[in-house]
Symmetry: C3
Subunit: 212 residues, 3 copies
């Protein structure tokens, strides 16, 4: 079972590498610039998580298979970029799978290090979202996850769900799969219905009210 | 005494969270984007400091009270944003307190790890200023502390003052409070008189001279 | 021999500090903003490398001479900025030396930590290029190394060359100097002939074809 999760998690990094490579190509980066952005997008979140934990080595240093999948994902994105808009949905699907698995992996590592619940939620969220944040910082854009569509919110809710199930001693594999599927499902709903949370800026809200 | 400092330091993180949340709301981030920016602003500097030190765990993982104060600060900023301009000065005051305590905490941790004096100054400065730098990077702005008003300079001077007092074996609580008060006071003076260091760009200086 | 390398590596940090300081001055940062950018440019890559490795302390915390050379480099850049365009080439030369030595240092540390070959290449590349990337992020620009001129590519090729020689048990000092000289030479060729890799963005390539 754990092996299956590991394989799907690596598939998630493959999808994130494609997303990073496409962003970098649109910005007209050179090939190794594209590779670096793909790499940071795919492993950035987990890397920050591992650096925060005292005595934890960074996951892709131990599991080099991630690196090769990122390499393949980048080449795939370069070769098939003009066709990739056709599989836009499958990409978002992989991205959602990656988000679900990355988030829950982060939470589990927090539990393994016996951290407080709130720290587990934070570690899960960092693992899920910081790859995309770092990608956007490197290409000098405002991180898309802060504005468009519900993203971090989905991670936080999924992480809390995991902790609730864990507290009630729900056993594997239900414990593992329910929150992962919850994140994937909620994220796909968000994409499908184009749901976004309202901005909280007061002036804007006032303006909207006046517009009526 | 140490307990008092700890409480005030947490108040500093509360003020920094408000500053981060206000910045993110102006950029029209969604609520969890606002929370993430508030979090990074409040703990970013100390987090980088702790990651630089070998074998040191990150402070907010051990002291989760920081996280709850950030959460409260964020909600406070969301609810009272339209009134917060009224307490602009109090906010800057808390920010200055946070700066003073954060900087000296960084220096003290450097001493505790038996680092060279110059490293202690660097750790103090990182603790004091990198939260604000990370905030500005995440919202895709040039970090304000590099340009407007004296900020990093205040940290560096305060850190050096602490090390001088420490070398002359000035005892607590004078050792702790003088440099903290020095940073707070100097920072408030800087804000009050709107003092900024000159840019060093040669073309600009030449141009100014010609203007005369 | 090792001592010589150490001295040249510190000279590399001196050159990188100048490059960072000049960038910051053009952006009209205040003096301590300039110093912070110079510092991050010079030590950023090696700092990220050391944070990724479990149980490795950050190099400039152990070797404070780096810090003093950065300080001198920054003051040098401030004082002589209007004359520095005259030694533009020497600066690029030092930067290339720094790139070569930094990259190979990163690879060697990877070998010392018994990492997989691909991780050694990644560590070498991070050491060589992330100082410049962080500099550009801090001044809110798209990192120049992703677009203009071959940069990361040179690191990656040099790191691979080192690993090939190491595998064939080529002994020091040949093992050390050939890849360093390879990186420096290739980088200088790239600068001299203004070589850049093509952007991979499909629309652009199509457009260019149509232009004919």
């Amino acid at each position: 079972m754990e092996l299956v999760i590991n394989y799907i998690s690596i598939l998630g990094s493959f999808a994130l590498a494609i997303s990073g490579a496409l962003t970098a190509m649109k910005k007209r980066f050179d090939p190794f610039g594209v590779l670096i952005i793909a790499f940071v997008t795919a492993v950035g979140g987990g890397t920050i998580r591992d650096m925060l934990l005292n005595g934890k080595s960074v996951f892709w240093i131990d599991q080099t298979s991630y690196i090769y999948f990122i390499l393949v994902g980048t080449i795939f994105a370069i070769v098939f970029q003009s066709k990739l808009y056709l599989i836009h949905r499958p990409l978002l699907f992989f991205d959602a799978i990656g988000l679900g698995l990355y988030t829950i992996t982060g939470v589990q590592i927090g539990i393994q290090y016996e951290l407080a619940a709130v720290n587990c939620v934070i570690l899960g969220t960092i693992t899920g979202v910081f790859g995309g944040i770092l990608r956007d910082i490197l290409v000098n854009e405002v991180p898309v996850i802060f504005k468009k569509e519900v993203y971090a919110t989905v991670c936080i809710l999924g992480a809390i769900l995991y902790l609730v199930l864990y507290r009630f001693e729900v056993m594997n594999p239900v414990l593992q799969f329910i929150p992962v599927l919850f994140i994937i499902g909620l994220r796909l709903l968000v994409i499908h219905y184009n749901i976004s949370l309202p901005s909280l800026y007061a002036d804007e809200r006032k303006k909207k009210r006046t517009d009526k």
